[in-house]
């Protein structure tokens, strides 16, 4: 079984995987391959939900981690963390569910209208999630 200390790396991997499938899903729909698009987006959604569960479980146990970086790294880190957190909530609680719902109900005009915003914002959330992981646990880890 995965130990608690390995969870941040697992979470970052799930985040990165979700970003890859989001990108693939976008690539497919640009080529009008609806079935492939749908498959990739569903995988991205499932992986993101797994990540969310794992992330919340981890932080319920260990609380938030102190950022050990100094100087310029601090405002940069907190700016990334803040924007990531706010946008992650907007995507998870509203944009992704609505985008999915509209596709399932076959309201494709409406689906497209919101999806063009959901994709880049979700992508940003995934990528910054991975960056935060590296900053917190590797690049500026306490000596």
């Amino acid at each position: 079984m995965i130990s608690v200390s390995e969870l941040p790396a697992v979470n970052a991997t799930l985040n990165a995987t979700s970003a890859v499938f989001l990108g693939l899903g976008y690539w497919w729909i640009r080529r009008k391959r609806v079935t492939a698009h749908r498959a990739c987006m569903m995988v991205a959604m499932v992986v993101s939900v797994l990540f969310l569960i794992s992330y919340l479980a981890y932080h319920a146990r260990t609380g938030s981690k102190h950022f050990a970086g100094q100087g310029l790294a601090r405002p940069v880190y907190f700016a990334i963390l803040f924007s990531h957190t706010v946008l992650a909530m907007v995507v998870a609680l509203y944009m992704a569910p609505v985008t999915l719902y509209r596709a399932l109900r076959e309201r494709f005009d409406q689906h497209r209208m919101i999806a063009r915003w959901t994709l880049p914002i979700w992508f940003y959330v995934s990528v910054t999630g991975v960056i935060i992981y590296f900053m917190l646990y590797h690049w500026y880890a306490p000596a």
Binding site: K32, V34, R105, E106, R107, F108
Partner: protein, 171 residues
């Protein structure tokens, strides 16, 4: 060779299989191909659907090109029923719309607008609901540009050519 203008599609306000309202104005700016069916239809409609699904594959994938099927048995063909029917035949739901709604409105649309025959079933004479299996090409201004027999390969190829030509029209 010019694709002629044969008439105009009148106003309509109908319900799509996904439950949303679709009006004539919502299709302005798009080129679309109308067809007429009902889900309880025994032979003619399934055959037409198969032809139309192949047509779907031959048409260019564009946001300004749509297939629009009208139910001539709207009392039975509620949105949920049409959606299942669409899935059964493999219609691309991002490009192919299925409409139902008020029967009088649909009859007026078919007979006076598209100038095609439709007639209710007559239980006394055991006649099924009559309707045309022709496909109708409509341009970006709601003008009717051509009629094509859905079971005729030559006419279907002409439909694809005419659709491309009408798509390319500027005005």
């Amino acid at each position: 060779m010019e694709v002629p203008v044969l008439g105009s599609v009148p106003e309509f306000s109908l319900t799509e299989a996904n439950g949303t309202i679709l009006r004539r104005a919502d299709l302005l700016g798009k080129v679309w191909i109308a067809s007429f069916l009902f889900t309880r239809c025994g032979e003619a409609c399934p055959m037409m659907m198969r032809h139309e699904v192949r047509l779907q594959a031959d048409l260019p994938l564009r946001d300004d090109l749509r297939l629009v099927s009208f139910s001539v048995d709207p009392d039975w063909d509620v949105p949920r029923v049409l959606m299942d029917y669409a899935h059964t035949f493999g219609a691309d739901r991002s490009r192919w719309l299925f409409l139902t709604g008020d029967k009088k409105q649909i009859h007026h649309l078919v007979i006076d607008g598209f100038r095609l025959a439709t007639q209710d079933a007559d239980p006394a004479k055991e006649m099924p609901i009559l309707h045309s299996t022709k496909l109708v090409l409509v341009d970006r201004h709601g003008a009717i540009r051509g009629y094509y027999d859905s079971s005729d390969e030559t006419e279907l190829r002409k439909l694809v050519r005419d659709a491309r030509q009408v798509l390319a029209e500027r005005s």
